[in-house]
Amino acid sequence: MTRKGNRNALLSAIGTSVVLTTLTAAVPSVAMEVKVFAIGDFVPSSSGGCGGGDRGHWPDMVDAWYDHMAVHGHTKDGQYTDGSMTIQRFCDPDWIGGCLDHQYADEADATMIATHGGDNGDHWVGTMRYSYAGHCGLDGGGNAHDMHLGDYDLEFLHFSSCYSADDDNLNPAGNRGVREAMWDPVDSPVNGRFAHVVTGNHGVMYIRGKYDDDYEDFAHDAHSVGIAYSWVTNSYHSNAEGCEWYDPFNWFGTCQDICPVAVSQGQSDARAFNGIHYERYNNVYSDPSNNNYWYWMGYLGCDPVGEFGFNP
């Protein structure tokens, strides 16, 4: 069949076929507030900033998620790009005065954070543009107390950042690992507010134009299948980067992967499982009442730059 013929047949099918019942448009169930924080233009230490190599396309990449959330009826509630990005927007006022997470990262239902990240012991640390109160790095999870989200509003925390969900930081000895950023040990037990799902990366991720589609599709698909599934399918790239010229498909083992990971938490095994398996942007459960139980989702053996294979 020719292209034209195929297209005509399809339009005919859509218009009159026996398979057709109704024409519907996707309608969001409950609109959420979404925010995105992204740094593409990092400020060298010699210019009074926190350092880091520029990645000019990064804000556009995560903007694809932000824009598409609005297509699904959610409210664009803040797009923060470069500017005076400091830890103040992400840190909890129980940690130090002046922290304003309740006006920024925690004052949304879904937040995306895009910046350089590293592995700082048992947790992720993200680079800011400028220092605040002597802190250039935003430490989140593990034994760090900078970042405790979910006690104000946040349900879904998304990192577009290297090392934001390293296998060894999911469940380190002595703390809740990445989940420490998904609650506030001071306020959450009192007000019963906890984040639900966090998504991030094991090892290093890459910035490139075509990965914009990952973020747009992540936003779309997370209305049809679980947020965790949507993240790990759309952000996973096997053998995508770092290949030698003679090995574009990794037949000789020279390529590296991009390795997405998702984590849920709950007061029971069932609640945590429902978070990782079912919860969507248009099917949001009530907050967990504690975070004693949790699940992770990721690709075993996934081998990114800067890390060994995923093996939590």
């Binding site: 069949m1 292209r3 034209k4 195929n6 099918a13 057709l20 019942t21 109704t22 448009a25 996707a26 169930s29 990092f42 010699s46 350092g51 880091g52 190599g53 520029d54 396309h57 130090i96 005065g97 990240g117 592995d119 640390v125 993200g126 220092s131 109160a133 002597g134 250039c136 790095g137 090392y163 890459y206 910035i207 490139r208 134009g209 075509k210 599709d217 698909d221 049809s224 299948v225 679980g226 790990v232 399918t233 759309n234 010229w245 003679y246 574009p248 498909f249 990794n250 037949w251 095994d269 499982f273 079912y278 248009n282 099917n283 949790w294 699940y295 990721g298 730059v305 800067g306 890390e307």
Partner: protein
Amino acid sequence: MINLSLPRIAQIVFFSSLVIGVPVAVAEDPPPPDDPRPPSRDEVIALVERALPSLISEDNSGLVKSLLAARLGKPVSENLNVVGSLRDARVFGPRSRPSFDEECSRGFTESGDPSPDPCYARLGEQAGKGAYREFSWSKHLGHGDVKFLRRDADGTVEPSDLKPVSLSDEAAYQTAMAFVVELMGVPPEELISPDELPDGASLPVRSLAIGSVNEKGEKSSVEAYKMVQLPRALKVDLVDPASGRALPRVPATGEAFVLMNDAGVWQAGVRRWRALSPEQVDPAQAKTRSELVNEIADAILTNESYSPIDFLGVKIGLMAGDPTPTQDGIVYPMLPAVEISAAVVPKDLSEEEQNRLGPNTAGFTQEFPLVALTEVSSAPETD
């Protein structure tokens, strides 16, 4: 005069700081380290020279011709039978009654351009807690996007129901190939057959696992799905004269994935499997190696003028230019290109090395056409 003792002053400072929001009593981070010495242009050029094979020479017209001769299969637009796919039991089923987005019948934007958007067919309600399936395809299939999503109703699966997938990697790969070829319009000639792989090469199949740690601290995980990623891989005849290494296939714009377990396929996507036209590029316009090296070095320094580059990855292949509307749909110029991925971080780092590294880590990737672009071949898509 008020006499303030030091402890009293400290109290005032402390409480004032709470009121006016000045931070207190948490140790500061060490100051940011001095900026690293940025890579010099000469260093980056040397890095690029080392990464590129001698296949890329001062006269690349032959290389461009060879790449333009890559064997294309029929485009997705000619292979995909949407009605047939929807009726297939692996998608919706023969007696299913899906609904279609009202946007499906609008093939053009308000400005008259071919719509880049997909059409959605749905079985069930996207919102809510019920089971649901969704199949979508580019309204103009030259764009090459097709997707299938499926979920259970909430509560269908309990943690104890999670079972390890029993499919072997080989079976998963065959299942994935069949799904994208038979139901999503991918031409089989553009996929790598398992029997083409050299000895010791592994299939691009991974297990997607779901895991936890119980109250006793005992770890458990279930390899619940197989994930197969299928790159678009076009057959070519290329040999590097210096090393004698051959490139039997090169990557082209387009990738597919299939997520499955023993209960069938749950998600599948074909992305950017563009309808490519090799006729809009003039091999005589091929860039020289030195032109390409300089262009790549400039781009790297634009992105990374801060840290030294640790290593570069290189792929020689085919990218897509800007789409051109045709009488039958849409087509993209096929552009021979080199893709460069740059990392400031080594491939493998121990935990101790990661801690020392600090956060300046994301890699970046960019494609560079091997030909000087004309209005006909047009600017490349953002890669």
